[in-house]
């Protein structure tokens, strides 16, 4: 079954069985999530994508539901200005990059803020806590998120 969809801004057609999960098809057909495994429970965060502006675990989305929808992966998000700006903040906060979870955490945080734009530091802290992390970078991310919210608020006030 070949399905058209928009992957990280590009029109693509991916081939897969409709019963497969989106994660498996993206990995095999589009070369994303290379060297990653998924928990297939929707809890590890490693396979998250943004599907039509909503973050979902791609291991729980059947491939057939991706037809003509827009998919953004953490790889795609890494190319955005938002990501670069936030990474600068995190670097200033002393982030030691973890190949396993740094990008997953950032992707998750920004997807959460997209859905709940008025979220405060406490809600961001809870969102960050949803992704399992063993590298100990959560406090840095929480400080970074608090700075990011302050910056956004300053921009909002200056526009009024």
């Amino acid at each position: 079954m070949k399905l058209p969809l928009i992957l990280n801004g590009d029109d693509v057609t991916l081939d897969g069985d409709p019963r497969e999960n989106l994660f498996a098809v993206l990995q095999r057909e589009a070369g994303v999530f290379v060297e990653k495994t998924s928990c297939r429970k929707g809890t590890c965060g490693r396979c998250h994508v943004v599907l039509d502006s909503k973050e979902v675990p791609s291991c729980l989305v059947p491939f057939f539901q991706a037809r003509q929808r827009e998919v953004v992966t953490p790889e795609g998000f890494r190319q955005t200005d938002e990501y670069r700006e936030f990474r600068l903040i995190l670097d200033e906060e002393g982030l030691v990059e973890c190949a396993e979870c740094t990008d997953v955490q950032i992707f998750h945080l920004f997807s959460y803020l997209e859905l709940f734009p008025l979220a405060g530091p406490e809600e961001c802290r809870q969102a960050i806590g949803e992704i399992p992390c063993r590298c100990g970078s959560r406090p840095v991310l929480e400080r970074g998120a608090a700075r990011w919210l302050t910056r956004k608020e300053a921009v909002r006030v200056s526009r009024r």
Binding site: D17, R19, T43, E55, V61, L115, F116
Partner: protein, 287 residues
């Protein structure tokens, strides 16, 4: 492409409305519904979903995601995702319902998981049952011939909203009532053993130092719902703070009701229920 060893590729429909979905049952009476699909995939042991031969996926049926506010009722579309429920602004959605929805999974999972999915699967989740039960909710179920309403109490007794072939759970109707105090607490996740999982909900109203009304219930995944309505009626009108005697009696009555459950609660669940009952009574005094 099709997967080896998984059998023939099933027929999958993605209707754009409830009417379209219902019409699909005419040529496909044995078709099964697919909403968020979080449990289907999580229970699958391979990279492939075990879909029935004919599947009706509701992800594109927008009219099943409507939120309608009325003077007397709030109607929530059954295909509304839990995050869509959380995003509803204003005071229309009871805070306790939002609290219960927020306690389910992660934010990403809540973008997939639907209200209907939580209600229509026995024991797997069911975290929202105690809340809907206390709020006096009703569930609308439709087929091509018409609709029927199921009370949250009846559904809770069965442990899920049971659908016959050709039926779709379309909406949840919640009466607009004022419950200024609401408490929700959940123990365990989908990975926790059944006998260590529990959800508790409580609603209360106080006025001039009196307990005007109190509703509370516990949901045990394998035993169903525990609610002692007689006790709730007896507690209404009691002066706050509740006396030591009233509190002891309340705990004893809950303990007695636990003994009447068709499938007994585990030691852990019993202990937590007693503890949470005391906690609710203490919180009332704090308020």
């Amino acid at each position: 492409m099709s997967l080896e060893g998984e059998g023939p590729v099933p027929l999958i429909y993605s209707p754009r409305s409830l009417a379209e979905a219902l019409a699909l049952f005419v040529p496909n009476p044995q078709a099964q519904l697919f909403a968020g699909g979080t449990t289907w995939q999580a229970e699958s042991s391979s990279q492939a979903l075990r879909l029935p031969m004919v599947t009706i996926s509701l992800h594109a049926a927008d009219d099943l995601r409507k939120v309608v506010y009325g003077e007397r009722f709030l109607d929530l579309g059954a295909a509304l995702s839990l995050n869509q429920l959380l995003s509803v602004g204003g005071t229309w959605v009871p805070p306790i319902l939002k609290e219960a929805a927020r306690a389910i999974g992660t934010s990403a999972l809540r973008n997939l998981a639907t209200l209907g999915g939580n209600l229509a699967q026995k024991g797997v989740l069911g975290d929202l049952f105690p809340v809907f039960h206390l709020l006096g909710a009703q569930f609308e179920i439709r087929n091509l011939r018409g609709s029927r309403w199921l009370t949250a109490q009846l559904a809770a007794e069965e442990g899920k909203v049971s659908l016959s072939p050709g039926e779709i759970l379309t909406k949840v109707r919640i009466p607009q009532e004022d419950w200024p105090l609401g408490f929700y607490h959940k123990i365990g996740t989908i990975r926790t053993p059944w006998d260590e999982r529990l959800a508790m909900a409580a609603l209360a109203r106080t006025k001039n130092g009196q307990l005007e009304g109190l509703r509370f219930s516990f949901h045990l995944p394998h035993s169903g719902l525990l609610r002692v309505r007689d006790l709730e009626a007896e507690l209404a009108g009691q002066a706050l703070p509740l006396s030591h005697k009233v509190r002891s009696l309340t705990v004893n009555r809950v303990d007695e009701a636990l003994g009447l459950l068709p499938i007994p609660a585990s030691v852990f669940q019993r202990d937590r229920i007693i503890h949470m009952t005391r906690w609710i009574l203490t919180r009332l005094e704090d308020e």
